[in-house]
Amino acid sequence: MATIATLPEWAALAPALTFAAAAFLLLLADAVSPEEGNPVALAGISLSGALVSLGFTVWYVVEGTGQPREGDPSDAGAIELFDATLVVDGMSLFFSAIIASVVVLVVLASYDYLQDHPYQAEYYSLVLLAATGMTMVTAANSFVTAFIAIELVSLPSYALVSSLKHNRGSVEAGLKYFLIGALSSAIFAYGISLVYVTTGSLQFDAVTSVVEGGELGGIFGLGVLMILGGIAFKIAAVPFHFWAPEAYEGAPAPISAFISSASKAAGFVLAFRVFVDVFTWEFVEPTIDWVVAIQILAIVTMTVANFAALKQEKVKRMLAYSSVGHAGYVLIALAGLTAGADHAFVLGSGMAHLLVYGFMNTGAFLYVALAEYWGVGRRIEDYNGLGAQAPFASATMTVFLFSLAGLPIGGGFVSKYYLLLASIEGEVALLAIALIVNSVVSLFYYTRVLWAIWAENPAADLEIEQYPTGLYAALALAALATVLLLPAFGPVVDLANTAAEMLV
């Protein structure tokens, strides 16, 4: 504790500050020697930035920064900065850890994927700036900081998705992502302005105290709905998911991994904070019953996404729909917050699932990146016989996909089981049934890919010569984390529950 006590309060933001510093360092390095372009140095700076940020986060979690000490009430200990517009607590550190881990994997994989890419410094610095935004979203405690941080995530993401400037798919994906993103951030901003109209403040605690004061009327309800819409876009929930398959398919594969894992986690942390903490259900319910709205959203998202994934011919697109489906699963963490439920448990299950999902989903997309690196096609048939050529990578893909489906080979099994318990805890039978049915459905399409990889004969011209170290290291790390989270799930879910308890 002594070491923490000597650090100034702003040092609690170190995970985000490290990302920003690394991003600027990259731009500086590029400004000093723009022509040479030393890919190893650029990747090294970004990787060390991400690792330092992860280190800070883990250190803070271990030391108990921003968390209640022994004997404190469960909601004490959060570090509030800048008039409480930013807050560092268990939840923000938990999600910073997810984001930093994903960035480590993505940067490792990008090193090989970006061979011959002309704008590497810009690419890495945009990734790190987006990561800065995501880490700020986790700490946002006011609609102003939340909106600015969300935009800091979105703007680099648009550019990254369309960063293959001569690839029509990439440009089209970037355009669609940008159009829908701009629309949804305008809706989000308008929703925030309506909340300001009715409550007179934008800081979360101040809004909460007005909300607890009594009836707020229809304008406030509309504002809450619009904010829900803006967040649903970030987490790619149906009906705001249309951009996701396009953007993930057209984007460079490491970026698909980044957006589908880290950006989704950032959206969820905002959803948790805004809906659990600010628009407390007991008080908002007479105006707008958001639990029911999110229950519908969750069930529709799971079902639509999983059945759409069944029909896909392209691996990346299938993974995109699977990631939309997982947004539906995690929404259970909000949809299960009915009056009788143990809120900390329900919320904690969703957070723990996001952590596991961060590793397994990133890993699955990085395998696609590896396939793209080898010049293998995008359809499922093109993956025929990859298992014989690259057994190690394909074994990691097996772990990721089965873990995504919820088989007991990785952490995905336990985290889905906890989500099931959460939906039972909330006494929403339909959610539990939807979760089970959709998991079974998802097993079909994941198995299709694995069948192609392991059981089919390769095309005659499939010849793999290079085994890129960075991509392999990223795959191995992600697989290791996914598998280890199966036995180590207990401490993770405890951590998530403690963090959730501070909020509810």
Partner: protein, 101 residues
């Protein structure tokens, strides 16, 4: 004399709806950007007007941030529209459909 607060809300709702209508019917990417700008400015009207009504500056400050962010968004958007024009030879958003929905 002061204008009743409802009128500000009506004005901003009207501007917001005009922007939304523009997004739904226009297929030119630049028109799309302008429509998004209208929607963001609708939020600004609310923020500034009710900043006066509530007697605090939060709304005005956030409006400043929104203006800045809108400009940043346009900068990125124009960049994407530029590469769109290079790849597809026009900026019609309904033309870039090489991937199916």
């Amino acid at each position: 004399m002061a204008v009743a607060m409802e009128f500000y809300l009506l004005l901003s709702a009207a501007v917001f709806c005009i922007g939304l209508f523009g997004i739904l019917v226009r297929s030119n990417a630049l028109m799309f950007l302008m429509s998004v700008e209208l929607m963001l400015n609708a939020a600004n009207i609310n923020l500034v007007a009710f900043s006066l009504a509530h007697g605090n500056l939060t709304g005005q400050v956030f409006a400043l941030f929104l203006i800045g962010l809108a400009a940043a968004e346009v900068a990125v958007g124009i960049g994407i529209i530029l590469v769109l024009n290079r790849n597809f030879d026009n900026i019609d958003v309904t033309d870039a459909v090489s991937m199916r929905w």
